[in-house]
Structure formats: structure tokens, C-alpha cells
Symmetry: C2
Subunit: 456 residues, 2 copies
């Protein structure tokens, strides 16, 4: 019996129009990466398990797809371990490779492995799929693309500035108005932790603070007290409860608040440098917003933190993010190489452009004309013309089969082909073509040069 | 202790220049696919195991990479089976997904699954990686890209003709002279099998015949006899021992030889149609060669068989192949859909272009100018210019750190950047830039408009 075809959970086929729309986004991102001097690299889809395991926390380890060893892989397991039937312990013995979980760890591995060929600061971009055994839901897939750009080998804050400009240029090219680039700084978060008295309360604190709009100041305070943050600590960070106004006003408030924290003050200075530089070279379409509740990947980043929000009318959350990490390559033995990078969420950006109707009308190359097949002799006459039109870069096709006119016309119609070309005995002897405009329905006999003109 | 980074056997990192060269090839192939009216699709990297298993023979099943189920995957195995410790049998219980082995089976699955959205004949192309647990060797990897174009839903031979034209256009665009497109037909091979008396001897027969150049007619005959092909059968197919001359001469010989085989004669007629049509619309750079020893994927193809050889000076063998298969989608329940397709071997083509020095000099986008960093004030002045140059699509960068001039110049030099721009206090007050040509060593002070002119 034939198999009923289906796809694994959380994976997708992409139809021609979907591929074309995805490529439209990717090509714009690529073009801007290159304009900013980033160079592409590619790494293998699977890595040795020890390269990936332990880099994303316990949850991450669980979500990594493992590849089964080839051959008689059970043979090598000793009897004691085998009889334990312990999946976690046995995994390490029957699987040596795993699918890439993100592009950052493979990039760190790449930098260390190729350090002698690389010119630092190394600016690389990478656009490849990653895989996570996550529960699929709207906008979350088990196979999805990441589009990353990173610089390693320099601590200069000019890079933080450049990445904001890069984000802005991509969204400008996509005609996507109203994007907000939120920035924060890990050191500011450390400073807040100092001020509230305990770094282990920091996440509770930012989560509560983030609800200010919804539950008001009293609600936030209540939640903080419940989480064990003291009344006096809350009093100290009170300026954060009214954290509005211009970015420079926000920076003034942070300075006041974090004056007692050396690390916090360094974070504020970094933010100030970035914000001032951006004000000198203003963004074209995006908004820059200082958001102290932004704490993504807390343990990972050491300086700047970015997160990009879709325009407010689209309820979709983050469409990109990134930040600075001071010691990413350390895990592979190369110390003190600072990195900073950003990522674009291709699937989310796709949904945003779709919802806002921002894809251009002709996002895919389109066949300009279909030559009708009236039999072998006519077909050959047409194929000669097809061949010459292809020389001019004009996309044309001969209908492969000599079947009913209606079927051939239907094909042109369904595929949205603008012109249908008919050439029978009379056209062949006149060395002409009858050209039917599928839109207007009119048709006209003409020679090859005239045909070429029309299709160009 | 830090891990020493390494890659799984048979996989590769691609450096920026390698990515650029690969993209150069892929972009040309893509462009031609589109010129011929093919549309791109993409399928997931992994499929349900039952979609792939059993489609590539026993050897293929072994070479498919299987993905381990998540969670406590051993729990579900019953004790009897578990205690057998039989890797092959247990695999089916602990792995439900597998990495794509080629693009053809996923394409067949796609066509069946989306048959109601597809307009037939459906012309699709697909350029994605595939994975095989093969023993790695020169030019053979465990992860590699396939570039496939196929048409399904029509039996017209005009498609066979079009694919030869497509091959020729790609190699022409790559400036690759001397490629040979070899064609044969499965029905001709069946005819030969009939004539030599047994279809199970067909592979032995073609393998022996293929050695004609090396071991001579007597050697070939000897090998055939050893393989159990009768003296009288060999006598009958004697014309194949002197199978030279023009393609039309070869076709005449085949007609004579296969006159008693109905299927064989149909194959010859198909070849004749293709060869005659190509002679009417001659190829630009490639040679077309009828090769009766060509028997790739014997059980798979039902009509035309293609194989493309690199120019003879490069000892590399096949750089592409394909053919017609009459019932690919049948395995997924959609009967009588004929397909024909070709594939380009990206890795092999890369090696050929490299060996023949055929990559263009500037295959990658290159940073035109590096602005030297003399401190924050100067850097901001430069970044304004960088921003304006980027508006014009000119790739420029500011060196991120305010370090020694020598280091910054060294960076420009190693990256092959043509111009270095210096702007200190004097340039800022003059609103100018000092531009150093890294090739000639000369330098000149100029305003922004002049700078833009030089870099454009």
C-alpha cells in the first residue's frame, strides 16, 4: 500500500512563492551585511556532540537533536550501562553528533579552529537553518533560519553603534516603518542588582517592572515584595517606575540611581556613548529605545543587549536581538576575544511583512510568454525563438505536450503568464508569431524582433 | 579544560572566499533554472523515516543519518526486543526521523502532498544540502549540496531536449569549455539485454564494454564470456564494439542492432528525436555524446539517462546527471506521473573551476575603503562619511579601535582593501579626507564628493 505522505512535526515545505518571499528578505539582509563589511561563512549542519552539549543549559541540551551513530551502535555499550536502560546516559554512547542549535556556538568553534587564518577584528555573517526539539506553536518551528552578523576581536563601542545602523538600514530597505530597537546593558542590570541587594532577584525584578503598563505601580511593588525584594530596595530604584521621556533623560535617571555601583555606572556610560552617537547619525526609520527591563540571555551577554520589536500594530513580539559577549571563544580555549552581534528572525519578519502587505508584487521571476505546442514541427520553430529570447534573458517556455489548446491556455492562465504565443503553418511560412495578450485578450501577428520588444 | 574544537568526519567549514565561490556557481545555476521557467521549492532537512527508508536500496538505508527521538526514548522498547540488543531492529523504535538523503524522494513526497495546489506540468528546482553516512574521500562528503531541476506531469521529449540546452547554458555561463553531456536511454539498455539474452547480465555487459578503450575488443569479449554472456550474444551486439562516429551514425547502428526488440527500438527513436532536435538548435559550448555504456541508476530511470563529464584535462569524472523516471510519485500513492530531471554536482564543479582557474577575480563583494580611527571625535566624523557612502551602496568601514596606525593599516592590507582614509584635526576643520591608495602608495586630500567619485 502506498504511504500517505506527511512531514515531521514543526517542519515545513516552502512553495515557490514562499521561497521567493523568504529570499526577498534574506537578500536584503545579506546585501546590508555586505555593505557593512561582513563576510559570509558556513558551518556544517551537525557538529560533534561535545561542541554543542553544555552550552545552552540543561533545557538546551534536551532540545538538541542528536544523530544516531551508524552501524551496530549498541554493540559498544557495556552490559551494566545497557541494562540500566537509562536514555540520558546511553545517549552519549550511541550518538556522537548533533544538529546545530544556533549559529553562535558553531561560530565560536570556527573562530578558534581557524584563528590563524582569520584577520581580526573578524566580521562574519551566517544565514543557515538551526534545529530545536521545541514544542511547535505559532511562529515557532523545529527547523528555522537564523541570520546572524557578529564581530569578534574588538571591544570598541563603535560596533554597537554600527549594528543599530545596520538594523535600521535593513528595516528601511524592507519598507518596514515603526520598528523599535530596544537597547540595554548587562552592566546596568548588574548595577540594579547591586542596588536592590541581590543579583538572584534581578530576573524577578525585571519581570515585575515589565508589567508596569498592565498592573500599575502598586501592582508591580506588590509583586516585588512577594518575590522577597525589600521595601527599602524598591524605594531606591523608584526612578525606574517612572522611566519615561527622552533617552537622554532616562540616562540621567540611571546615573542618579546607579551612582553607588561602579559596574552600573560603566554600563550607563556605554549606553550614553551609543545613544549620543546614534543621535549624531540619526536612524532612517526605526526608533531607538532604552529599556531597562530588557534582560534576554542574561548569563550570556556582558555588555550591550539588543532586542527589536515589530511595529505595535502587529502583535508579534521580537523580530531580532543580540548583544555583546566578552568571552565566547573561551570555552574552546581562546581567551579574551570579545564579540558582539545581532540576529534577524526571518520567520517573524516574514509574518510581519505578510500582515502589513509589504512584499513587492513581483517578488519572483515570472515566465513572460508561453509558446503553444501545435506539434513537433511547430514546436521546433517555437523552440528556436525560445532559445533566442533566452539569449536576451527573457523567461519563456514551450508547452511540452501537443494537447488541447484549452489545456495549454489554462496552464498559462493558472501560472499567471502574460503572453501566449501561437505559431502554426501560416506563421511559420510568414516567419511570424501570433501574440495573445492574456490580460487584454487582444492578439496580433508580428515578427521576432517585435515579439522581443514586447517581452523585454 | 577547554575543548579542542574539531569537525565531524566528512563535514566542512566554508570560509568567506569559499562561500563566495560556491555562491558564484549556485547563482549561475539558479539564474538559468529560472530562465527556463523552473520555480524553487524547499523541503525540511529531516523527513519521517518511513518517507526515506526503503527508497535507496539496502546500502542507502544504511547510509541514511537517523535522528534520535527526544525524551526517555528507551522506555517504549519492550523488554524482549531490548534484550536482543539488535541495533537494526531497535533503530526503528528509537528514531522516527532521518536526514534527507537526496532531493528526489522529498520532491516526490512534496508533489503528492501538494498535488491540489500544483499546476502540472510542474517545473521545480531545489538547491539544498543532503547527508550520507558514506566513507569520506576526495570530493565525497557526508554533507553536500545538490542542485536539482525536474519536471513532473508530462512525458514530452521536448523536456529532455530542454534539459540538454539548460546544461549547456550553465556551463557556457561558467565559461567551462569542453564539457561532454552523455546521453543514453533505459529502453536501449533493455533492448541490449534482450539481444544478449538476459537482463541480469546487462550491468556486467555495460561494465565490460566501458573498458573497450583500456583492454581492447579481445579483453572485453573475454570478460563478457567470463560473466556468462554467450558467444552468439556477443556476436549479435558486435556493432557496439565499434561504436564511434557521429551521433546519427551511432543511431543507425543501434537501429540495426535492436531491430528485433520493440522496447529497444522505442529507445532509439527517443534518442533520435532528442539528437535531431539538438542539432537544429546547436549547443553553445558543450558536446553531446551518445554513450550506450551509460547505465547510472539503472533501476530508477525508465527513459533518458544523462551524465555530464568534466573536460578531459581535469580528471574528475561526473559533474552532473539525471534522467526520466516514469513512476516516482507512485510510492506515495500518486500513479502515472512521469518525471524527468537533472542535477549539478556543486562540489565537483567547484574543483573543476578551481583547477582550470575559471573563477572571476572579484567573486566576493569587497570593502572599498577603510577609515582610520584616530579617536572618538575623528571616528564620528568618519562614520558620518561612511553612512553617506553606504547610502550610495559603497562598502566602507571604520576601523573600530583607536590603536596604532600600523595595526590599522595592516588590517586594510591583509583584507585587500584598496583605499585607506585618514581624517584628523586638520581634515575635520577643512571638511576633507586624506585618501591613501594602498596599491600605488600615493595620497591626496579631497572633499567628500571627490572621495565618493573615487570609490564608485
Amino acid at each position: 500500500m502506498a504511504q500517505k505522505p506527511s512531514l515531521p512535526k514543526g517542519t515545513r515545505d516552502f512553495s515557490p512563492i514562499e521561497v521567493a518571499k523568504r529570499n526577498y528578505i534574506v537578500d536584503i539582509i545579506k546585501k546590508q551585511f555586505e555593505l557593512f563589511g561582513f563576510h559570509p561563512i558556513e558551518t556544517p549542519s551537525f557538529e560533534n556532540s561535545e561542541t554543542l552539549m553544555g552550552k545552552y543549559g540543561e533545557e538546551g541540551d534536551r532540545l538538541i537533536f542528536k544523530i544516531l551513530n551508524s552501524g551496530d551502535y549498541l554493540k559498544k555499550i557495556d552490559e551494566d550501562l545497557y541494562s540500566s536502560k537509562n536514555s540520558t546516559k546511553i545517549t552519549g554512547k550511541i550518538s556522537e553528533k548533533a544538529l546545530r542549535y544556533d549559529l553562535t556556538v558553531p561560530f565560536a568553534r570556527y573562530v578558534v579552529q581557524h584563528q590563524n587564518e582569520i584577520v581580526f577584528p573578524f566580521k562574519r555573517y551566517q544565514i543557515q537553518p538551526v534545529w530545536r526539539a521545541d514544542r511547535p506553536q505559532k511562529g515557532r518551528f523545529r527547523e528555522f533560519y537564523q541570520c546572524d552578523a557578529d564581530v569578534v576581536g574588538s571591544k570598541s563601542l563603535w560596533q554597537e553603534v554600527d549594528f543599530i545602523q545596520l538594523y535600521d538600514r535593513v528595516f528601511t530597505q524592507l519598507n518596514l516603518q515603526g520598528v523599535t530597537i530596544k537597547i540595554n546593558n548587562r552592566k546596568v542590570l548588574s548595577g540594579i542588582a547591586e542596588v536592590i541587594g541581590a543579583s538572584d532577584k534581578l530576573i524577578d525584578f525585571t519581570v515585575a517592572l515589565d508589567k508596569l503598563d498592565k498592573i500599575g505601580e502598586d501592582g508591580v511593588k506588590k509583586e516585588m515584595l512577594e518575590k522577597g525584594i525589600s521595601e527599602s530596595a524598591i524605594e531606591k530604584v523608584k526612578p525606574l517606575f517612572n522611566f519615561t521621556g527622552t533617552t537622554s533623560k532616562k540616562i540621567d535617571k540611571l546615573k542618579e540611581l546607579l551612582v553607588s555601583s561602579e559596574e552600573g555606572m560603566r554600563g550607563v556610560e556605554e549606553l550614553e556613548f551609543i545613544v549620543n552617537s546614534i543621535s549624531e547619525i540619526p536612524l532612517k526609520t526605526s526608533n531607538l529605545d532604552l529599556d531597562v527591563t530588557l534582560a534576554r540571555g542574561l548569563n550570556y551577554y556582558t555588555g550591550a543587549i539588543y532586542e527589536v520589536s515589530a511595529p505595535e500594530t502587529v502583535k508579534l513580539g521580537s523580530i531580532g536581538g543580540g548583544g555583546r559577549y566578552d568571552d565566547l571563544t573561551g570555552i574552546f580555549g581562546l581567551k579574551d576575544v570579545s564579540g558582539v552581534g545581532i540576529s534577524f528572525g526571518l520567520d517573524r519578519i516574514y509574518l510581519v511583512l505578510e500582515e502589513l502587505g509589504l512584499f513587492p508584487e513581483t517578488v519572483a521571476p515570472q515566465t513572460k510568454a508561453l509558446f503553444i505546442n501545435f506539434g513537433n514541427e511547430e514546436a521546433l520553430y517555437c523552440l528556436r525563438a525560445v532559445n533566442r529570447l533566452r539569449n536576451e534573458g527573457i523567461i519563456t517556455e514551450l508547452y511540452p505536450d501537443h494537447t488541447k489548446m484549452k489545456k495549454q491556455m489554462g496552464y498559462a492562465d493558472k501560472r499567471g503568464i502574460g503572453y501566449v504565443i501561437l505559431a502554426g503553418t501560416s506563421e511559420i511560412s510568414n516567419n511570424t508569431f501570433t501574440v495573445k495578450n492574456m490580460h487584454s485578450g487582444t492578439q496580433e501577428e508580428m515578427n521576432f524582433e517585435e515579439l522581443k520588444m514586447i517581452l523585454q
